[in-house]
């Protein structure tokens, strides 16, 4: 089933990120729905969310979604190809390479917005 430590970490992180994304999603549906209460209420809520602590939280959510998406592709390869399980360890390292390549540009865009003092 899971051979070696990498596979178990991949599984564990997939679950943790999945649960975290779901928790965020449920909250996110609720807060966007509050747009129905009109501009005053909704703009006050958005101002609350624009605080530094929530924007850093959003960076973590983005990281979670990115890992879950890339490792999900790894799972699909393991399930539907003849070679996926054999190279699951290498695929997991590939997940992390792609994660860094895709996440760093996001950090370069978003971190200055939070801390740039603009």
């Amino acid at each position: 089933m899971y051979r070696g430590r990498e596979g178990q970490w991949a599984f564990f992180l997939h679950r943790i990120s999945g649960v975290a994304i779901l928790a965020f999603l449920l909250l996110h549906v609720l807060d966007i729905s509050l747009a129905m209460w009109g501009p005053e209420v909704f703009n006050r809520l958005l101002a609350f969310y624009h605080q530094t602590i929530f924007r850093i939280g959003l960076l973590l959510v983005i990281a979670g979604v990115l890992y879950h998406a890339l490792n999900g592709l790894r799972i699909i390869l393991m399930d539907f190809t003849s070679w996926g399980v054999r190279v699951q360890r290498q695929l997991w390292y590939g997940v992390w390479v792609l994660f860094v390549v895709m996440y760093l540009p996001a950090l370069f865009k978003i971190l200055p917005e939070i801390f740039g003092g603009k």
Partner: protein, 131 residues
């Protein structure tokens, strides 16, 4: 019980019911679609714009356009189904007492159903009156 297989053939053998096998397949198909829908959503809202400057007008304008209504509803429906079924696997693994498990699932499914209804309302049943 959640399927622990790698490979479709193993999943077929391990699935107690056709429904459980269908969920196993659904997780792969919806997952593949969500890679594009969810990462696309994050790219649009965080990279193309400054997420810290989003206001009511931006959201109202966006939710008034049919393209984004359809995109967002597809993302909402697939993400909630994918996430809820994933959470079902987690609950099955963590909550061993059948009676407790039943009530945990009942409350959880109820919350998800209410939020799905609310999300669908804001997308399709509210007029933001953009001039």
């Amino acid at each position: 019980m959640a399927i622990r297989a790698r490979r479709y053939e193993d999943a077929k053998q391990q699935a107690g019911t056709n429904l459980e096998l269908a969920w196993w397949v659904f997780m792969r198909i919806s997952g593949l679609l969500l890679v594009f829908l969810a990462l696309g959503h994050l790219y649009i809202q965080n990279i193309l714009i400054n997420a810290g400057e989003i206001d009511y007008d931006y959201v109202a304008k966006r939710l008034s356009q049919t393209t984004w209504k359809v995109y967002d509803w597809l993302l909402l429906a697939l993400a909630l189904l994918h996430g809820t079924n994933g959470m079902r696997y987690v609950i099955d693994d963590l909550v061993r007492n059948p009676a407790v498990r039943f009530w945990v699932k009942t409350v959880f499914y109820t919350v998800v159903a209410i939020l799905f209804f609310l999300g669908s309302l804001v997308l399709f049943n509210y007029d933001f009156q953009i001039s």
